[in-house]
């Protein structure tokens, strides 16, 4: 397997430490979905630590149906030109050519995302074959470890994107972090059973037993719509949050964006959370899970 670490003299690009390093830099910040450079500027002005450039936010992808693909390079480049903060973009699960294109555009992070229509029903992208880092979604620890074994530098909960409903993200975070806590209590014989049950490499399971944490940062995504939602994800153990439809589908995006940034930093301080939650106007309407047909759930995409 090609590993895209390239060395020139004493200097190397694309190493695991360099890839995971950018994920470390994003901790405690907010990564916001934006569909044009005006929104990207609003996000940066509000204190976003990165933006995710995409043609339609998940709520619109869900509404429109059809095939959702990588965004137009023109739109991604316009966003890159308009902000100083890192710019991420989404490729379809398994669509390594979309990922090659995004890397050649100089995107800072690729989200191999279940929000887009999967291009491969068995394989995810070999992420070691790229110089830039990838983030992948997971609903449980086994899925997270399979993505890490393919080279993901960052894991996020899948949640259920475009719903404005936290319930799935909470389920996924609790599942991932709960299993990590249990693994740290397991004896060495039980770790074989854990690896089998999680369908994950034994070496990664053993590493978690030793360190008590995932090999890469764990962020929350999918359904975050309010400052309290962001703080909930953080208190559950996420290291920062992605906010998709929640900001630009709300009545007044700029103050909401700023409030979510402050809530993510001061996530344990209820007085700050109360202050920033005031007067934000109407949040996105949102969808209950029982209103979504099983086949229309994004979280079940990915293997």
């Amino acid at each position: 397997m090609a590993n895209m670490v390239s060395t020139n003299g004493s200097s190397s690009t694309g190493t695991n430490r360099v890839k995971r390093g950018l994920a470390e830099m994003l901790k405690g910040g907010v990564i916001m979905d934006v569909v044009n450079s005006d929104q990207a500027k609003i996000a940066e002005d509000a204190g976003a630590c990165a933006v995710m450039a995409l043609e339609r936010v998940p709520a619109d992808i869900r509404r429109d149906g059809g095939v959702a693909r990588m965004s137009d390079p023109d739109m991604i480049m316009a966003i890159q030109a308009s902000v100083h903060i890192p710019v991420m973009a989404k490729a379809r699960i398994g669509h390594f050519v979309e990922a090659q294109i995004l890397q050649s555009l100089g995107v800072d992070f690729i989200d191999e995302s279940e929000v887009l229509t999967p291009a491969d029903e068995a394989h995810h992208i070999d992420k070691f074959a790229f110089t830039i880092p990838f983030v992948c979604g997971a609903t449980n620890l086994g899925e997270a470890l399979r993505r890490i074994s393919e080279g993901a530098a960052l894991i996020r909960s899948k949640g259920e994107a475009g719903t404005g409903n936290m319930v799935e993200a909470v389920r996924h975070l609790r599942s991932i972090l709960g299993d990590i806590r249990k693994i740290t209590q397991a004896d060495s014989a039980e770790l074989f059973e854990w690896a089998k049950r999680l369908q994950a490499p034994l070496s990664l399971v053993q590493e978690i037993a030793e360190t008590g944490k995932l090999q890469v940062p764990l962020f929350a995504a999918g359904g975050i719509a309010t400052p309290a939602d962001a703080a909930l994800a953080m208190q559950l153990g996420a290291e920062t949050v992605f906010v998709g439809s929640g900001i630009f589908k709300s009545a007044d995006p700029a103050p909401r964006a700023k409030a979510i940034v402050e809530a993510t930093t001061h996530f344990r301080d209820a007085a700050v959370l109360a202050r920033v939650s005031r007067g934000l106007g109407v949040a996105m309407t949102g969808i209950g899970m029982d209103e979504i047909n099983e086949t229309q759930r994004f979280a079940q995409r990915g293997w």
Binding site: S11, S12, V18, G21, M25, D108
Partner: protein
């Protein structure tokens, strides 16, 4: 000695810095409020996004108290974005971005390029030789007369010091190597004795 080193925890790689301090037996405190700042003898400013941190410094009411503490001689160590926050001049930053002007250097934000250009490289320094990890790194383009260059790559400064202010364009917290943290703690220890 009962020393507490604060890690500015508004955004960025603060957890990795806290881990480094713990690994050398130093007590660290995450600083998000002026009250937490009061309890620390020194402050580490991590990497992350300098524009995000700059806004959170204002909204958290930390900018002025930190500025006062630095003027009083509190040791500070800024890495990457943290270095940008300490610099006297920021190039290619946001127009509303404020800095503490604690060290006389001019720093260009993201001067080494986007993530695809982020790299690891060996650094020669008077503190020791390091494997430096540079993530969308800023570049030190000018160094004032009072500033001591401690480390460089290709004859470019990447580790600098002026008095009790230490700044690095790379990330010592990401390489399981706490020697620079030890060096910073030694600056703090000397000051605490005085």
């Amino acid at each position: 000695m009962n020393m507490q080193v604060g890690v500015l925890a508004l955004q960025g790689a603060f957890a990795a810095h806290s881990d480094c301090l713990t690994s050398i037996g130093v007590q660290s405190v995450e600083v998000r409020t002026p009250g937490q700042l009061n309890s620390v003898d020194a402050l580490l400013m991590p990497g992350g996004e300098s524009s995000t941190m700059s806004q959170l410094l204002e909204s958290s009411g930390l900018f002025d108290p930190i500025s006062t503490r630095i003027a009083d001689g509190m040791p500070v160590f800024g890495t990457c974005a943290g270095m940008i926050l300490l610099a006297s001049e920021i190039l290619d930053g946001r127009s509303d971005q404020r800095s503490f002007s604690a060290i006389d250097i001019s720093v260009r934000r993201n001067a080494f390029g986007r993530q695809v250009d982020s790299f690891e490289s060996a650094i020669k320094s008077s503190v020791g030789d390091f494997q430096g990890i540079f993530i969308r790194a800023p570049r030190i383009e000018r160094v004032g007369d009072e500033v001591e260059v401690l480390g460089s790559i290709n004859n470019e400064p990447v580790l600098v010091r002026q008095g009790n202010v230490l700044a690095a364009s790379f990330h010592p917290e990401l390489s399981n190597d706490a020697r620079l943290h030890e060096y910073f703690v030694s600056i703090t220890a000397i000051r605490k004795k005085v």
